[in-house]
């Protein structure tokens, strides 16, 4: 009886283990949408190098289109070579080529970045 329990237990454990690995491998298919910390860092670096791209309104808000600082291949334009950015995709592998909404706060040097529109499918 004990032998049967052990054998059945081992079979179940092995199957669950394999299914776990399969699930983990499957998770790696889709690209991570984006790394929020990296994107925030990138925008703040870009603000240092190319403040002319950031046209803030009276309330301290600016809309920054991704295409403003990328070249034809989607990577950072070489004139901003001091910083770099990877292509980013949403979970379905759509290229994110939308825009950032950036807020300048009077009490902080760091920009606040709203990334909810970076994967918007702009029509151009």
């Amino acid at each position: 009886m004990k032998t049967k329990i052990v054998i059945i237990g081992l079979v179940i454990v092995s199957l669950l283990t394999l299914l776990l690995f399969d699930y983990l491998a499957g998770k790696s298919i889709n690209y991570v949408a984006y790394d929020i910390e990296n994107e925030e860092k990138f925008i703040n670096e870009m603000y240092e190098f190319a403040p002319e791209l950031f046209k803030f309104d009276d309330s301290g808000k600016a809309i920054i289109y991704i295409r403003n600082f990328t070249d034809e291949d989607g990577y950072t334009n070489t004139k901003y070579e001091t910083t770099s950015r990877q292509l980013i995709f949403d979970k379905d592998l759509n290229e994110c080529d939308g825009y950032y909404v950036v807020y300048k706060k009077s009490d902080s040097d760091k920009l606040e970045v709203d990334m909810s529109h970076i994967c918007d499918m702009l029509d151009y």
Binding site: K2, V6, G9, L10, V13, S14, T17, L18, L19, F21, D22, A25, G26, S28, I29, E72, D73, G74, Y75, L87, F89, D92, L93, N94, E95, D97, D120, M121, L122, D123, Y124
Partner: protein, 191 residues
């Protein structure tokens, strides 16, 4: 259950878990060399840059190998036209000199650009489905269709996804996903 049996069972489970782990990685290494195909996509004769991946699956031994095809910026500009035809070609790639198969096909197309060191064998192994998005809305979801004129009605940016599935031996298959976007007629700046 007394302590000695409990201890033996615990060790047995740990041993078995480790064995599965080793076996999985061995199988992953072995199956990573599954036969890969090169894929070329054209719309109206213009070669399309795409981003994608292959996912190899074995059904007996539940294993999945993912091969990213991260070749180029997946955006292509196209002229406005009254007809849009997608041509998708899959091929096996061989070295011209030795005749051996080249299994890393990243960045290779199916030979329509002349490459003297490689030769290409066009194959028809996959079945495809397709999705088209525009402005974050799904405008087509179904079988792969070559003529997409009905879905590209005007200037703008269209996001395509082509999903392929083919057998790779008796108990395994390969699922592919190609993603790209095209800007038609310079885009639509009305939004």
């Amino acid at each position: 259950m007394d302590d000695s049996i409990s201890s033996i069972l615990t060790k047995a489970f740990i041993f078995y878990f480790c064995e599965c782990l080793v076996l999985w990685f061995l199988m992953a290494g072995y199956t990573a060399n599954y036969d890969k195909l090169a894929t070329t996509i054209y719309i109206n004769g213009t070669e399309i840059n795409y981003y994608g991946n292959d996912s190899y699956r074995n059904y007996i031994f539940p294993i999945r190998i993912v091969n990213h095809i991260d070749s180029m910026h997946p955006k292509t500009d196209l002229e406005l036209s009254n007809k849009y035809i997608i041509k998708l070609t899959e091929c096996e790639v061989y070295y011209e000199s030795s005749g051996l198969r080249k299994n890393n096909n990243l960045g290779n197309n199916c030979g329509e650009k002349n490459d003297h060191e490689l030769k290409f064998k066009i194959v028809d192994e996959s079945s495809f489905t397709m999705k088209i998005y525009r402005k974050n809305k799904l405008i087509y979801d179904g079988e792969f269709v070559s003529d997409v004129t009905d879905y590209i009605s005007e200037k703008g940016r269209y996001y395509f996804h082509i999903y392929g599935k083919r057998r790779a031996g008796i108990i395994s298959n390969v699922e592919s996903h190609f993603a790209f976007n095209v800007v038609i007629g310079g885009g639509n700046y009305e939004d």
